[in-house]
């Protein structure tokens, strides 16, 4: 099979389904704060960063951890990548709402990284992740970098969006 189905439909699959449902329900019913074109890029950034990172270190030859039931790439691994995206958008949403400045910005990043580690710890309990040579302490450093990058990317996109008028949309002849 190209993408194997779960061996047993148990804790890890439920964890992914429940989290994804809650996340995407929030995403669809939350009031709009910034343009959808920016939200799409933020979702893609989150998914592609998770894919690059997991495919680089969770697969052979490094094999530092496994995701879900198989050592192979399976159907629920694909869902796992999309599970993170709404929570990453929630991070940006609250950032945009409260606009933490100075040391509060650093505190905001640390707080979200701790929340992500907690989220990953729960995922580990539910057997979504099985660590071999990896630990939650390493994840904390990764989340610190990713959250900082994510918020900086959001600021850049928002600035770029407001600085570009319709006339600067370059190629009208496209498609």
């Amino acid at each position: 099979m190209i993408l194997p189905l779960p061996i047993r439909f148990d804790a890890n699959e439920w964890y992914i389904l429940i989290n994804s449902t809650c996340g995407y329900l929030w995403l669809f019913f939350s009031p709009k704060r910034f343009p959808h074109s920016i939200s799409v890029l933020l979702v893609l950034f989150c998914v592609s960063a998770a894919i690059i990172y997991d495919h680089a270190i969770a697969g052979p030859p490094l094999d530092w951890y496994n995701i879900n039931d198989y050592t192979k790439y399976e159907l629920f691994d694909v869902f796992t990548y999309f599970m993170y995206a709404p929570y990453a958008l929630l991070c940006v949403y609250l950032y945009d709402k409260f606009k933490p400045k100075g040391l509060w910005f650093t505190a905001y990043i640390v707080l979200w990284s701790l929340l992500c580690v907690g989220f990953e710890w729960l995922a580990m309990i539910c057997h979504v992740f099985k660590f071999h040579k990896w630990s939650l302490v390493y994840s904390f450093s990764v989340y610190l970098i990713m959250t900082s990058l994510y918020l900086r990317l959001f600021e850049y996109l928002l600035r770029k969006f407001h600085s570009q008028s319709a006339s600067s949309f370059p190629s009208k002849r496209a498609e």
Binding site: P35, I52, K72, F161, P170, A174, E175
Partner: protein
């Protein structure tokens, strides 16, 4: 050697891309880049990891060359291609499409010749179909995103 050749190729292409006037909006460039990463990583993991049609992992240096290729070089080539094609008429884009496909198939052939991976069951001509499918999978979401962006920028 493989890494230095592919890295040099990326620097040359990167410089060329940075020095031209872009036809795509920066958001479109990011969109295409990330969609390519998502589609191509999934494709490689399924074909190499699950179906064992490629052998990538001779040593860790080859492995990281492969990671570099699929994260930087291939998305850069595809973004470059879309950026050049966006201002052309639709029939011209279809005429130029085989060139894009041949270019990416050629890159795969180069990586295979340099020993980044070995084909074990994969036929090189399948790459033509692979890249055609990937181009189409990027093209339609990109058109959707372009309309969304156009609407919101106005």
């Amino acid at each position: 050697m493989a890494f230095s050749i592919l890295f040099s190729l990326t620097v040359i292409l990167g410089n060329a891309f940075l020095s031209i006037r872009k036809n795509l909006h920066p958001f479109e460039i990011l969109f295409i880049w990330m969609v390519v990463i998502i589609i191509h990583h999934n494709f490689i993991t399924i074909t190499a990891g699950n179906l064992k049609l490629f052998d990538v992992y001779d040593n860790s240096f080859n492995y990281w060359t492969m990671v570099f290729m699929r994260t930087v070089l291939i998305p850069l080539l595809i973004v470059f291609y879309f950026d050049r094609m966006v201002v052309r008429r639709p029939y011209q884009k279809w005429v130029w499409l085989p060139l894009g496909i041949l270019m990416l198939t050629g890159l795969e052939y180069l990586a295979e010749s340099l020993g980044v991976y070995r084909l074990s069951g994969w036929k090189m001509w399948w790459s033509l179909i692979e890249w055609l499918a990937i181009f189409l999978l990027i093209h339609f979401p990109w058109l959707w995103y372009r309309r969304l962006l156009d609407k919101e920028v106005k």
